[in-house]
Symmetry: C2
Subunit: 342 residues, 2 copies
C-alpha cells in the first residue's frame, strides 16, 4: 500500500505538493507526536475526594506525627523547594543523618513503586515508613494515632472524611496519599512542546532532547514521569563509587544481583531537586549528566552536549502545586507532650 | 450637674423611662466601650510595600538562611501552629536546645520591643538574631548574604524591591520584617465584642473577661496586643521557680533588679501558642492562669474562675494569615552547599 505522501506526489503539481506536504507535516506534528515520543505530558490532578485531600494536607504539615513534634512530611519533601530538601541526605530526629537522598514528592503518584528501593507498593504504604523510622520522624504508629485522637479538630475531621469513629494509621496514610496525589506539576515547557507548541522550547533545548533520546537516556527516563517506572542498576558499564551504604533493591529481595538496583528517579522538576542520585553526590545537573553518560551509557558528553542536555532538563519544571498553608487543629490538654530532648 | 439618667427620670413615666434607659445603654455600649476597655481591637494589616512582603515571605520559608539548609524562620514560628513551635524550648542547629520558649510571630509588630528580654528595638533588628545564633540557625550574616547573592532569582528580586544591586543583611531583615508586619490576626471574637457585637462572646466568656479585668490580669495584659507593651517581673508576689537559666531583662541591662523581668507576652491567639511562659513550663491555659494568679496577683482562682478566664482567653484567636506557600528560587551551581552534618 502506498503512503498518502506518495499518492499526493503522483496527483498534484510540485508547488501544490509542497503546500500539502507542509500542511501534512504540521498536522502530523500536532496529532501524532504525543504518541510517538517516549515521554508523555501529564495532566493536572483529578481530585476525587477533596475532603480527604484537605485532611491529608494538614497531616502533611503536622510535626506532631513525629516524636519530637518538630519534623513533618514537609521537612524533607519541602513543597517550596521542588518537594525535596535539597540536601545530600536528610536530617531526622535528633539530627540523625538519613541514609539516602530524599526523593521529590512531586508526581510521586506516577511512580510504579515508592522509595528508591521500591519497598512500598503505593503512596499509603510509603507514608507509613517515615513516621516510624527511627532516623526520620522516629515515632510509632500507635503514638501517632494516640496523638491525633487527642486533638478534637482531627477527631471531627477524620469522622467526616472517613465516616468512621476509629482514626487509624490506615486512615492517616490514605489521607496523606490523597494529598500527595494532587502534587503533580503539569504544563512544563517540554509538555507544551509535546502537545504541539513548537515554540515552547528553543533550539538548544530541542538539541538536548534529541541527544537525550539518541544517546539512550530515554531508555530509562521515559513515560509520563520521565523515570519512576523501572529499577535499573546504578553503574551499568562502569561501577559507581560511593561511600553511601544503600544497597538498593537488594535490601528488599536479598539477592546480590539486585545490589545498586534503584528505582529510576523522575526527571520532572529536576532543576529544583538537586543534589542528585541516591547518595546526593552529584551537586549539579551538569555533573549528573556527565556521570550518567559515563556510567550508564559509556559515553563522555562534550561540554556542548552536556549543556544541551542540561538545557533540555530545565524545560521539565512544571507548574508547582499552589498550597495554602493549612491551619492545624490545636492540641488539647490531653495531647501527649512532645519531648524532643529526651 | 444632673446626669442624663436623672433628667430622664424626672420627665417621663416609668415605662417610658425603662425604654429610654435601655436604648441609652445599648447606644453607650456601641459607641463608648471601644475607648473604655483596657484592650483594643486590631485591624487587618495595611500593606505598604507588597513586593517587599512577597520577598520577605520567601525568606521566611527559606532554610538556606541557616547553616544546615534545614531550619527556616517558620521552623520555630510555624504559621500553621499559631506562629510558634508548640515546644517548651526550640530545636536549633544540630538539635541544640534553645534557651527560651519561642514567642509567636503573630502580631509581633504590635510589641513595643522584640525578644522576651527586649534586646531588639524592632522586627528588622530582631530578624538578625536567629540567623547568626549558634543554637538557632547557626549561620553568619556574611554567609547568608553570600548564599542569597548566588541565587539568580533572589538577586533579581532584591534588585527590584530595593532598587539597589547590593543585597545586604539589612535588606534581608527589612523584607522579613515587612512580611511579619502582615501577620496580624484581626476579627477575634473578643474584638468583635469590643466593637459592639454583644453576641460574639457568651456569658461564661464575658464572666472570664470581667474577672480578668477585676483581678488585675489586665494591668499587664492590655492594649492592642493584650500584652507586649511593658516589662514585668515573673514572680511578683511569690518567686517563680524554674530550671530555665534565662535572666530576662537583666541580660540586657546588667542590673540585678531586672532579673526575671520579661516582656509581657501577647495573649492574642494564646489558645494556639502553648506551652506558656518563657520556659514553656505551663502546658495548658489552665495551669498558666493558675500560676499567674498565685505568683503575680496573690490570688488562688477557684476552678470555676479558672475555667471562666480560660474561656475568655479562647476568644482571643483571630483570623490566621492566609499564606500561599512561596516557591523558593533554586540555588545555582555557585551556591555554597549546606553541610548539615559537619
Amino acid at each position: 500500500m502506498k503512503s498518502s505522501r506518495s499518492r499526493v506526489l503522483s496527483t498534484f503539481s510540485t508547488a501544490t505538493f509542497i503546500t500539502v506536504l507542509f500542511a501534512a507535516t504540521v498536522s502530523s506534528a500536532h496529532a501524532a507526536e504525543p504518541q510517538a515520543e517516549p515521554i508523555q505530558p501529564i495532566a493536572p490532578a483529578k481530585v476525587q475526594h477533596p475532603e480527604r485531600v484537605a485532611l491529608g494536607e494538614k497531616l502533611w504539615f503536622d510535626p506532631r506525627l513525629s516524636r519530637s513534634g518538630f519534623i513533618s512530611c514537609n521537612s524533607c519533601h519541602n513543597l517550596s523547594m521542588g518537594g525535596s530538601d535539597n540536601l545530600k541526605t536528610s536530617i531526622g530526629d535528633k539530627w540523625k543523618q538519613g541514609g539516602i537522598n530524599s526523593p521529590t514528592v512531586l508526581n510521586s503518584s506516577l511512580n510504579f513503586v515508592q522509595f528508591w528501593d521500591g519497598r512500598a507498593k503505593d503512596l499509603p504504604e510509603q507514608a507509613r515508613g517515615p513516621i516510624a523510622n527511627p532516623i526520620e520522624m522516629a515515632f510509632t504508629h500507635e503514638l501517632a494515632v494516640d496523638t491525633l485522637r487527642s486533638i478534637p479538630g482531627y477527631v471531627d475531621e477524620f469522622r467526616k472524611v472517613f465516616k468512621s469513629v476509629k482514626l487509624t494509621i490506615s486512615e492517616i496514610t490514605l489521607a496523606i496519599a490523597a494529598f500527595e496525589e494532587t502534587l503533580v506539576t503539569p504544563n512544563a515547557r517540554f509538555d507544551k512542546w509535546l502537545k504541539g507548541d513548537k515554540t515552547a522550547i528553543n533550539a538548544q533545548e530541542l538539541r538536548g532532547y534529541q541527544l537525550f533520546k539518541g544517546s539512550g537516556c530515554v531508555a530509562c527516563h521515559n513515560g509520563q514521569n520521565i523515570g519512576g517506572n523501572s529499577f535499573q542498576k546504578m553503574g551499568l558499564v562502569e561501577p559507581y563509587k560511593t561511600g553511601n551504604p544503600s544497597e538498593g533493591r537488594a535490601a528488599v529481595t536479598g539477592k546480590d544481583a539486585d545490589r545498586f538496583n534503584f528505582k529510576v528517579p523522575t526527571l520532572r522538576n529536576v532543576a529544583l531537586t538537586y543534589p542528585y542520585f541516591h547518595d546526593g553526590e552529584a551537586a549539579t545537573l551538569s555533573q549528573a549528566v556527565d556521570t550518567m553518560g559515563r556510567l550508564q551509557l559509556a559515553r563522555k558528553f562534550t561540554p556542548e552536549e552536556n549543556a544541551d542536555i542540561v538545557a533540555f532538563l530545565k524545560t521539565l519544571t512544571g507548574d508547582q502545586p499552589k498550597i495554602v498553608l493549612p491551619m492545624l487543629p490545636p492540641s488539647s490538654d490531653k495531647t501527649p507532650k512532645s519531648k524532643p530532648f529526651e
